[in-house]
């Protein structure tokens, strides 16, 4: 799987670099550099397989049931991009070693750079359109992180956010477009899409899909009117700018244009949008670039302009232009990356990037100067350099383009003007800072950059020269391989010769160079006199400001909507939820009428009626008392719980009744423990009840009655209808033969639905640990730190265990003697009862849950009568270990089934003959139930003892006690 390994390599490298010491520059650079260089060698070695139009495909099955696969696909065009990504990536890794300062946390930088390399490789290697969008968004995300690398700087924060907003929104549009395209084609496979261009272009959804996909491509490649994010992204460290924002990421947009060129191009709509955006960007970017004073901003606008040129070439609907576009992608990547690196060297050595302050640097840094000059020559389109060749092809295309007469005239003119601008800004970059009288007021005394910092620039400039001098030998085969898939398989006739004779394109080049030199001299004269510091005519047309005000407006709008439609008050939220649920249920009753069925009713028994009269009184009483009489409310609620438990018993659910009663006991103890920390609330002293309170209560009461009646009606309707056909007969009939137990409920819990139970006990353990963790930082309210007032009623010198029952030496000596002795005697009995429940659980009512709760209750009883200190001095309970052992036991039982080739948590029943006992059948589910038991014991004890310990802890008293927090309570 060469492609999958290639894609994985940078991500692995990213993780590795993230683990290295954060300031170990050399080691990090070596690690990242070797990973990139290895990837580069790997890619280049694949060239013979894609050279003649071959395609390498790899499919990794992901979710086969949904038809989702990871498809990797390498053809010549993707190969060319992969080479750019990996080679320039390796050079940038080397360069960044010297550019970044020793104080910077460079591990983060290298980790992000490698992650970006992986994401970008993912984009170019994707053979599936949706997968491509995923990697596309990943590049936006990593770009955000890299622009914001110096996250303490405000410009970095803003630039990163803007880039993410624009490219992320574009990515969203792209996803929409790709989904539409997949709908038209009937598949998300790139190969299928590439083969069905005619069908796509004839489809009524084509314009929508096209516009959405172009939104993605144009935002990513910073095309007008989305160009404004790129100059802002220059807040990133220069290696990042060289890599992402000139050579690779911003090329993803034009990559997509080229990738889908065979599918989408060839229509009027394509021509007008793509070439229109490209031409505007070409001209506008070059124009603004001339007036910039920051080296990196000059390069940023020039990048925008060159990307516009590439976009324009793809928009012309001619395969020769597409070849030129592919060629210019390569050329621009090499010279622009080297220019960014050179700008970084100048910045690094002089401490400034302001063109107005930099002069005559050629004396102090001759080598860098020479390299920058050659690279700016390539950018300007000087003959014998690579930029000249692709620009010449571009001129030729504009000359021989045939369309509407107005366009035919306009295109060469615009191309020439943009080329003149390009010469001007190239001169400002190359000539302005290196020649003239040396500047004297620089922040740092300039000197030549370190040897290895120049090496990446040297290699890139060398390739500019080689391609420029001997194009056919050096770049010919790669260009042919790269351009062939773009134009759909058959290459048009083109020549890479340097000299085509004295033809119109050559004249355009000459005009551009001459005009550019003159323009530069003119501009310099004016600028030296303090004029033309900013680009005239476009000051008002500030896309960035428009973007920011639009964003601000959206934020304000959403805030207003939230204020109108949302609330932070829980009561309102609960009311809305319940009211909406009730309303929806009523609406549903219109479709499925709420009618009583005709199932035979059970005759009412007086005892049951009486039982529930008590139950209902308890429930309503608890509701009434919960505000001022908490103890009574807890007691009444216990009554309601008890009646519920008896109801389970009544209607043939012994397991439920057992569980309900033990849980009821534990819950009551829990609530009683919590009572101590709640504020006192006395009837009659709170603020008077207002009419508003009454109205709110009336409203709530109505809703409660409505919802209660609805619930009653619904359950009556369900109870009187015949039982639905469910999967229950399956469980009933299989429980004994397959689950090996007669208690169907227990067999379901530990066998059929054991995975659910495993999840449940995990939740139980997690809750207990959360309770423990929350209580460790517990700060009780100030007025409840004092001892309770019953304990304070005794004089200090009285020796009695009534004062501090929890900390008394031994409760069994004082007034608690009788209960303490009984509770201690009951402990072994309780454990025996628990063991009984646990062991018989598979066949009779019982099981791990009940047994665990019984043991927990027995232990809590000891706590209550003897006090925590006495108990913990004598028994080490370690509830956390109980939880751990229980979870492990459950998981291991499940995995045991896996080990012998059955699905997770399959039960096996072993039959053993024991002496005296006789035949014993031992299902493996017993061990699982034992795990449940242990977790329940541990979790319950941990929760309740953590709460109980709060009264023993010496709580720090707040220095200043706030105003009495008792009750200004209301409804």
């Amino acid at each position: 799987m060469p492609l999958a390994a290639l894609l994985l390599l940078p991500f692995l490298g990213s993780v590795l670099t993230a683990l290295l010491p954060t300031r170990a520059r050399s080691e990090l650079a070596a690690c990242a550099g070797f990973v990139s260089a290895g990837a580069a060698v790997w890619v280049i070695s694949l060239f013979p397989r894609v050279r003649d139009g071959g395609v390498i495909r790899e499919t990794i099955s992901w979710v086969p049931s949904l038809g989702l696969d990871l498809v990797l696909r390498l053809d010549g065009f993707a190969w060319m991009f992969a080479v750019l990504i990996t080679v320039i990536g390796a050079l940038v890794c080397l360069y960044a070693r010297y550019y970044m300062s020793p104080e910077d946390p460079v591990a983060r930088l290298y980790a992000f750079l490698l992650a970006f390399m992986g994401a970008m490789l993912g984009v170019v290697l994707s053979g599936n359109l949706v997968q491509l969008v995923v990697f596309w968004e990943l590049t936006s995300l990593v770009s955000f992180l890299l622009i914001g690398y110096w996250h303490h700087r405000v410009d970095a924060q803003r630039g990163a956010r803007m880039a993410l907003t624009v490219t992320g929104a574009g990515g969203l549009a792209l996803l929409g477009g790709v989904l539409l395209l997949g709908h038209i084609v009937g598949s998300y496979e790139l190969d299928v899409a590439l083969a069905s261009g005619d069908r796509v272009r004839a489809h009524p959804l084509y314009p929508a899909a096209l516009v959405l996909i172009l939104l993605g491509a144009l935002t990513k490649s910073a095309q007008f009117p989305f160009h404004f994010w790129l100059p802002r992204a220059m807040a990133a460290p220069t290696p990042v700018s060289a890599y992402l924002h000139s050579a690779t990421m911003v090329k993803a947009g034009v990559f997509l244009l080229a990738r889908l060129w065979p599918v989408l191009s060839g229509t009027e709509l394509w021509f007008w949008i793509v070439s229109g955006a490209g031409m505007t960007t070409l001209l506008l970017g070059a124009y603004i670039a001339m007036f910039q004073h920051d080296l990196k901003r000059v390069l940023a606008y020039s990048t925008i302009s060159h990307l516009g040129l590439i976009t324009l070439l793809f928009g012309l609907n001619s395969s020769l232009a597409a070849v030129a576009g592919v060629f210019h992608i390569m050329n621009h990547a090499t010279f622009k990356a080297s220019l960014f690196m050179a700008a970084g060297v100048v910045d690094h050595e002089t401490g400034t990037r302001d063109i107005r302050r930099l002069n005559g640097l050629i004396r102090s840094m001759p080598r860098t100067g020479a390299l920058a000059l050659v690279a700016s020559g390539a950018m300007a389109g000087v003959p014998l350099l690579n930029g000249f060749l692709s620009k010449e092809m571009f001129f030729a295309e504009t000359m021989f383009f045939s369309a509407h007469p107005s366009v035919e005239v306009m295109l060469p003119v615009v191309a020439t003007i943009a080329a003149i601008f390009a010469v001007v800004y190239s001169l400002r970059f190359g000539y302005d800072i290196f020649f003239g009288p040396p500047s004297t007021d620089l922040p740092r005394q300039p000197e030549e950059a370190p040897r290895w910092m120049r090496t990446p620039i040297e290699l890139l400039v060398l390739s500019c020269l080689i391609v420029g001098v001997a194009p056919t030998i050096s770049i010919g085969p790669s260009l042919a391989a790269a351009a062939r898939p773009v134009v759909g398989g058959t290459l048009p006739e083109y020549s890479l010769a340097i000299w085509h004779g004295f033809n119109p394109p050559f004249v355009m080049s000459l005009v551009a160079i001459a005009g550019g030199v003159l323009g530069y001299l003119w501009l310099r004269k004016h600028q030296e006199q303090g004029r033309l510091q900013d680009a005239p005519f476009v000051g008002r047309l500030n896309a960035r400001r428009l973007f920011e005000s639009a964003l601000l407006g959206l934020t304000r709008l959403s805030r207003r909507v939230l204020r109108l439609a949302g609330t932070r008050r829980l009561q309102t939220q609960m009311f809305t939820i319940i009211a909406v649920a009730l309303l929806l249920a009523l609406l549903a009753a219109r479709g499925v009428p709420l009618e009583w069925g005709d199932r035979d009713r059970l005759p009412a028994s007086p005892a049951f009626v009486l039982l529930w009269v008590i139950g209902a009184v308890c429930a309503v009483g608890a509701a009434v008392m919960a505000k001022f009489h908490r103890l009574i409310a807890i007691t009444l609620m216990g009554g309601a719980g008890l009646v519920t438990c008896l109801t389970f018993m009544w209607f043939s659910a012994p397991d439920l009744a057992l569980t309900q009663i033990v849980v009821e006991i534990i819950t009551t103890i829990l609530l009683l423990l919590g009572l101590r920390w709640l504020p006192m609330r006395i009837e009659g002293i709170s603020r008077p009840v207002t009419a508003r309170d009454r109205m709110r209560r009336g409203r709530d009461l109505l809703l409660a009655i409505g919802a209660g009646s609805g619930l009653a009606a619904l359950s009556y309707a369900m109870l009187t209808r015949p039982a639905p056909h469910s999967i229950s007969p399956f469980f009933l009939s299989r429980a004994l033969p397959e689950g090996g137990g007669a208690n169907v409920v227990n067999v379901m819990l530990v066998d059929f639905r054991a995975f659910d139970t495993l999840g449940e006990i995990t939740v139980l353990g997690a809750v207990a640990l959360t309770v423990y963790a929350l209580l460790r930082r517990f700060r009780p309210p100030p007025e409840s730190i004092e001892q309770p007032h019953q304990q304070r009623a005794f004089p200090a010198d009285v020796v009695t265990d009534l004062v501090k029952p929890r900390t008394a030496e031994d409760a069994a000596r004082g007034y608690m003697m009788v209960p303490a002795v009984i509770a201690r005697l009951l402990l072994p009995v309780s454990v025996l009862v628990a063991a009984h429940f646990l062991l018989r659980g598979h066949n009779e009512p019982g099981g791990g849950f009940v047994a665990g709760l019984v043991v927990a209750i027995a232990m809590l009883m000891q706590y209550m009568v003897s006090g925590a200190l006495w108990l913990e001095a004598r028994a080490r309970l370690r509830p956390v270990r109980w939880i751990a052992v229980g979870l492990l036991l459950g998981a291991i039982t499940g995995l045991g089934a896996l080990a012998v080739g059955y699905p997770f948590l399959t039960t096996h029943t072993a039959h053993v003959r024991l002496p005296l006992v006789g035949e014993v059948h031992l299902p493996s589910a017993t061990f699982f139930d034992l795990g449940v038991f242990a977790v329940v014991v541990g979790a319950t004890l941990l929760t309740l003892t953590a709460l109980a310990h709060q009264s023993l802890r010496a709580h720090r008293r707040p220095t200043q006690s706030p105003a009495s927090s008792t009750s200004e309570g209301t409804s």
């Binding site: 309503v620 509701a623 609620m637 043939s652 012994p654 009646s709 609805g710 009933l732 169907v744």
Partner: protein
Amino acid sequence: MEALLALVIGVLGGSGIWLVLRPRTFQVIMGLTLLSYAVNLFIFSMGSIFIDKPPLVRPGVPADLQHYTDPMPQSLVLTAIVIGFATTALFLVVLLASRGFSGTDHVDGTREEP
């Protein structure tokens, strides 16, 4: 019997909902407990009610829904009872912590009524 059971589910649910809508945290925790009784009984009653037919398979009796009550709602409710205890415990501790931090036992953590 059915009417009575339906009625008590309604009473328990209504009392629970009333309490859940109250402003004090203790009232809400009591309300959630009452509501969980109602919901457990409701789910339990989905299998329709039988007397003296516990889902314990006995030899010689055919294992079908004519001779035993429905075991599925029972096992669902058993899980729900235990999880209900866990959430009550968690909620209790959260309300105590909130009381300690904010100085009030109002559900919104603010003393003033807006």
